[in-house]
Subunit: 324 residues, 2 copies
């Protein structure tokens, strides 16, 4: 995926600088008096991605304050949502028994499941501690609610492993809970810290919700479609782990009579054949269209409420999710 | 271990009623819109113990307000510390690969490590959410700090598995971080919610710190000394998991010349022989004396600052830790 930041604009330059400050806040906050903890946290370097959540938090704040110096509380909150995200990645990799992430070995593969469980807990706890330093009770409440939603989403996803009757409604609920909720909360937090009114905060939240949903559908699609070296992690894991994703659900819904054929292909782990079937039935195209529609609706919503270069950067960031 | 509450006093009766209200707060808070989450939380019933942490929080509040109706915020905070404790138990059992707790099967043994990891995360997150509903930023900060300490303690303990050179200082730091810190924070939270002054809060915190340390040394001792049916969980796990506990550290310190003999006995997993060696060398007696001294100092400290039936109940609770 190409960079999500348009560096030809002042907003892009601002965002890049702010993200580097957020990284510093985050990693300095993780420093512990026990060297064993620091050694473990150092392994996180490879987990650092594009920082979508902090970016959207920062931009959501900035649409309300295009000409103000960024307050430290906004950077801290951006660090908080990234920490929560890192915690979920570390525990997800334990759950998925994943060995690779972004082309590097996972914490569980390097240091064992036990260390990965404890590191995830430390990150989760550090996120709450960092959020509490802002001393804004509404923000703590928002964070508590979204992490509860995330965890519940993971539990529901786990309970539905190998559920070959998973409905679209269930799939959307799971990806809302485990992914979109945190992205929506990131936008909402930016709005809350920016002192936005009820409508502005709702618009930002809904933008994040749609973007987050599109993002997860796209991520699931990459697992199915891409080659390993492009994704930086093994592909076809969802099929292997009995996780139904949108193209498969769409296919099963439209072709209930050949359900057993598809399930046999999935069980055999033949991702190539699976791709061909889903391609020729149009299920992959339907999924791509769904992503594109979500992105379009998200952009329309936020452009209807805000204007200027900040919201333009938000839309550039999101446009990267669209595929053809 | 016998009941820690003296039911012949009004404070004992009050505490019993309050603990039942705290349990209700806690389990109602865990109810989720997703039935899968509730099913998993229902497995927690067997994890419910004597509720030492909420008891000490309630009593610490009450020493400052012996004649006031208990505010709901105190019960909520008591539920928060118990939730944190439950979260650590669930993740500890994953780390220890434990099959039994309090005579019943553990969550990891019943539902798998993955579900146990997610349940622990859900409990941790629920604790933060519940704490945030009190809308007291100091309390959130205190909670964030203590959970960070707990997690760091677990990481350090994990890093020191099979470290046969663990010093007393390292051992005390680990048990402070992973156990005493939460018990100390429970007492401190009671003091903070009770509006105690600086000295009162410090005395309560130090009481919890000493009690918590005594509690963990005693717990480690039970793992070594007791028969399985008395403890409700398999014994000798510490030896098996390469965790040095106080009697062994004391022995190694006093008998460095026969270190290899003791390590061979530990490696062989012969808990009976280990007990005999530690008994005859007096290391178990030294450990018991240490517990008793901690309890005496804790009681003296809190009795020097407070008086009346509430502090008496605190001391009764703690006296149960003493052994002869």
């Amino acid at each position: 995926m190409k960079s999500l930041i348009d560096m030809s604009t002042p907003v892009g330059v601002w965002l890049t600088e702010e993200l580097s400050l957020v990284s510093r806040v985050l990693f300095e906050h993780l420093i512990n008096k026990h060297p064993d903890v620091n050694t473990l946290c150092n392994e996180l370097a490879t987990y650092k991605g594009k920082m979508l959540r902090p970016s959207l938090l920062l931009l959501s704040w900035r649409v309300l304050h295009p000409d103000t110096e960024t307050p430290q509380s906004v950077r801290v909150a951006a660090g908080v949502v990234e920490l929560i995200h890192l915690a979920t990645l570390v525990h997800d990799d334990v759950l998925d028994e994943a060995d690779l992430r972004r082309g590097a070995r996972t914490i569980n593969s390097l240091r064992g499941n036990e260390a990965a469980v404890m590191l995830g807990d430390y990150l989760l706890s550090s996120a709450f501690l960092l959020c509490s330093t802002i001393k804004n009770p509404d923000l703590n409440l928002l964070l508590g609610e979204v992490t509860n939603t995330l965890c519940a989403g993971e539990v529901v996803q786990l309970s539905n492993r190998n559920n070959m009757d998973l409905t679209q409604e269930q799939y959307f609920q799971i990806i809302h809970d485990k992914t979109a909720s945190l992205i929506a909360a990131s936008c909402e937090m930016g709005g809350v810290l920016g002192g936005g009114n009820e409508v502005q905060i709702r618009v930002l939240r809904e933008f994040g919700d749609k973007v987050g949903t599109a993002f997860q559908i796209k991520d699931d699609l990459l697992d199915l479609l891409e080659e390993e070296n492009l994704v930086g992690k093994p592909v076809g894991r969802d099929v292997e782990k009995g996780k139904l994703t949108l193209p498969v659900i769409v296919f099963l819904q439209e072709n209930p009579d050949i359900k057993s054929v598809l399930l046999d292909v999935m069980k055999s782990g033949n991702t190539k054949t699976l791709r061909e079937i889903l391609h020729s039935a149009g299920s992959i195209q339907t999924t791509i269209e769904h992503v594109n529609e979500l992105v379009t609706t998200a952009v329309d919503g936020v452009m209807g409420e805000f204007e200027g270069p900040t919201v333009a950067q938000m839309c550039v960031m999101v446009a990267g999710l669209q595929t053809n």
